[in-house]
């Protein structure tokens, strides 16, 4: 009997090309996603060294960060963004990399399109010059974000020198209560372990509450692994995974599907395998979560109170909270419920999938957005947009007074003109509440699509359970 292994260890072992004493292992990369922001310098590096893309057939590019979410038939007004997008399309053409460009009917946020095309599959190694690559871990893939130098290495060689990470089991038992969603699980986890809690680790999400999630909800959880410091976060594949993949354009077909299933069913962590670290959460005790500060770990139940710095003994911790509250213009010891909101953003690689839009529509249907609130609904991809249209969701959003936009990263990173003005408050379904993340001086409360939609209706931070 060989030693019991975790899923992360199994994927690691099957992708090591070479391992020498002292040197990092050479890890083979099955799938490389590329976007316009972190790739131009890498393609330029290849050009300067006279190298080709080794496996364009294992590489896919799309535009998402810099593109406007307005009418796609119009040119991009920002000349710098336009040049960056054009550069990606030109690089892809020059190096033979498939590219879902601005006018592609498959364009979308990189971590939305990979899975929905069936390109992300269990047991794969997946990288992208983007920290939210962890999203793909929801399929039982070892997926992690890399820098531009590493993008260049993978383009050139399809490999990365890597050290094995520690394994960290996240056990989420119990069942979520109504109004509480996958986003609340991950915000509660990060609040518990802190933004550096998973540094050096690959997370594996286990337990009944995780098994009960749909693929889209699982992606919301694994997506934010990096906000807990972990480069990767996996969920073992099961029938939910296989049902999602079956019939997708790039999923295996016929006999290859049957063979893949046999392989994929061997991936889950063996009985008796051990992890370096572990943490438990009780899903049945969770409430809708919201962040109050400038770090994703600064989250509280929506009915809770903002921590009072005066009550924090540890000086470093106290200063961190004081700094965050100063930026956010909030007072410690007070509840967030009822706090005015100026903008609501529903979208991103965390919460821009059809399930998320359905959640938002559930709250907005038959209601009106508060006239003081600008509400943006941004589908994660053209396919999500089409699905939403087929279900009549845009009509619900428009009737409520929300804006229905074209797919992209939009207000999650505010590179494309979709911004929150300085000093304004947004409830956002994205993944980061860092200072200025949604525009210079913007103030972000991170929450689920349900909680965000509730704030759009009332104009204040709201417990969505009062509207369901």
């Amino acid at each position: 009997m060989s030693k019991p292994r975790t899923i992360a260890e199994k994927i690691w072992d099957s992708h090591v090309v070479q391992e020498q004493d002292g040197a990092p292992a050479l890890l083979y990369i099955d799938f490389h996603l590329v976007h316009e922001v972190t790739s131009p310098q890498a393609f330029q590096g290849l050009r300067e060294r006279g190298l080709k893309v080794r496996r364009p057939d294992l590489t896919m590019a799309t535009v998402d960060h810099s593109i406007p979410t307005t009418d796609r038939s119009l040119p991009i007004l920002d000349p710098i963004a336009a040049a960056q997008v054009a550069r990606l399309e030109a690089n892809a053409a020059e190096f033979g990399v498939p590219c879902l460009g601005v006018h592609s009917e498959r364009q979308g946020v990189v971590h939305v399109v990979g899975p929905e095309l069936g390109l992300t599959q269990p047991g794969m190694t997946v990288v992208c010059g983007d920290s939210h690559t962890a999203t793909h871990g929801a399929f039982g893939a070892l997926a992690f974000g890399i820098g531009t130098s590493e993008v260049e290495l993978v383009l050139a060689t399809q490999c990365l020198p890597q050290r094995k990470s520690k394994t960290y089991q996240v056990i989420v038992e119990g069942a979520l209560r109504p109004g509480v969603s996958a986003k609340d699980i991950i915000l509660a986890l990060i609040a518990k372990i802190g933004t550096g809690g998973g540094t050096g680790c690959v997370l594996e999400y286990t337990g009944a509450a995780i098994r009960a999630l749909s693929m889209e909800e699982r992606m919301t959880v694994s997506n934010m692994s990096i906000e807990g410091g972990a480069r990767a976060g996996l969920i073992a594949p099961d029938d939910v995974t296989f049902d999602y993949l079956y019939g997708r354009p790039f999923a295996p077909k016929g006999a290859a599907w049957e063979e893949a299933l046999i392989r994929w069913r061997q991936l889950p962590t063996d009985e008796g395998a051990t992890y370096d670290l572990s943490v438990s959460l009780d899903a049945s005790a969770l409430e809708p979560m919201i962040t109050y500060g400038t770090s994703p770990g600064q989250g509280i139940p929506v009915t809770g109170v903002v921590p009072d710095p005066a009550a924090i003994g540890n000086a470093v911790e106290r200063e961190a909270v004081e700094k965050a509250l100063r930026y956010m213009g909030l007072e410690g010891g007070k509840p967030l419920l009822g706090h005015p909101v100026d903008v609501v953003f529903i979208g991103s690689c965390t919460n821009g999938r059809i399930r998320d839009l359905r959640d938002a529509a559930r709250v907005l249907k038959g209601r009106k957005v508060n006239p003081k609130v600008r509400t943006l609904v941004v589908p994660g991809s053209q396919q999500v947009k089409r699905e939403a249209e087929a279900e009549g969701l845009p009509e619900i959003f428009r009737a409520a007074g929300a804006e229905w936009r074209e797919p992209g990263c939009s207000m999650c990173i505010a590179m494309n003109g979709d911004e929150v003005e300085a000093g304004k408050y947004s409830v956002s379904t994205s993944n980061r509440n860092f200072e200025g993340r949604q525009g210079k001086g913007s103030r972000t409360f991170l929450a689920s699509p349900l909680t965000a939609a509730a704030a759009a209706v009332t104009g204040v931070v709201t417990d969505v359970r009062t509207l369901l």
Partner: protein, 210 residues
């Protein structure tokens, strides 16, 4: 060819903030560039300049006394968040050669070493002591020796710090890891042949842009 990383002595710029994310190091709106250059002026942009774009005199990097210092003494969990390599590009173009903290985010640490920016991990005690030293005497200097993996304090004490042996080799020699991987191209080809029969790949599936 990058410049080999050599040992040096420098003053320390204290930035006692926890969880500094890469959006603070360089805000996303500057990532529309297709170049690696010209990012030093945008380092910590939103902390460094006011709404009119004028340097804020109270921000440490704007204070003339710190000019020329090559080490950033940062708070815990430095470089978290986005994977943007623009963060180490901006730090090195500003003039930093090392950052000292108790911990670094994984992607930032890797990106830094690929750009000859040394992340130095010290214990909480040494970290506190360094802040106290700078507080007492802003001109205090420490010596950084990557080969020995040592930080030498003004009183002569040597503090060892961990560094990945491979990344250290690359930094000291001024080489990147492409050359290392290319030595193993035969192994990569053999791996690809071996696994196409047993592991699903995306090849040969009519892979076309839509």
């Amino acid at each position: 060819m990058k410049k080999p990383f050599t040992s040096f002595a420098s003053r320390l710029v204290p930035l006692p903030v926890r969880n500094v994310d890469t959006d603070q190091i360089i805000p996303a709106r500057f990532l529309k560039t297709i170049s690696k250059e010209g990012l030093g002026d945008q380092l910590f942009c939103d902390w460094r300049y006011d709404a009119e774009g004028k340097p804020k005199p109270d921000f440490i990097l704007n204070q003339p006394r710190w000019r020329g210092a090559e080490i950033l003494l940062a708070g815990d969990n430095f470089g978290c968040g986005s994977s943007r390599e623009h963060a180490p590009w901006a730090l090195t173009q500003f003039g930093f050669r090392a950052v000292i903290s108790t911990s670094f985010a994984d992607i930032f640490r890797q990106n830094s070493m690929k750009n000859s920016l040394l992340p130095i991990i010290v214990s909480g005690d040494v970290h506190r002591e360094l802040f106290e030293l700078v507080d007492k005497d802003p001109d205090v200097r420490v010596f950084v020796d990557l080969a020995a993996q040592q930080l030498t304090l003004p009183d002569g004490r040597n503090i060892e710090f961990p560094v990945d042996s491979f990344a250290k080799h690359c930094m000291l020699e001024g080489v990147d890891d492409l050359g290392y991987i290319q030595q193993h191209m035969d192994a990569i080809e053999a791996f690809e042949k071996r696994r196409t029969s047993s592991i699903n790949t995306l090849a040969g599936k009519g892979w076309l842009p839509y």
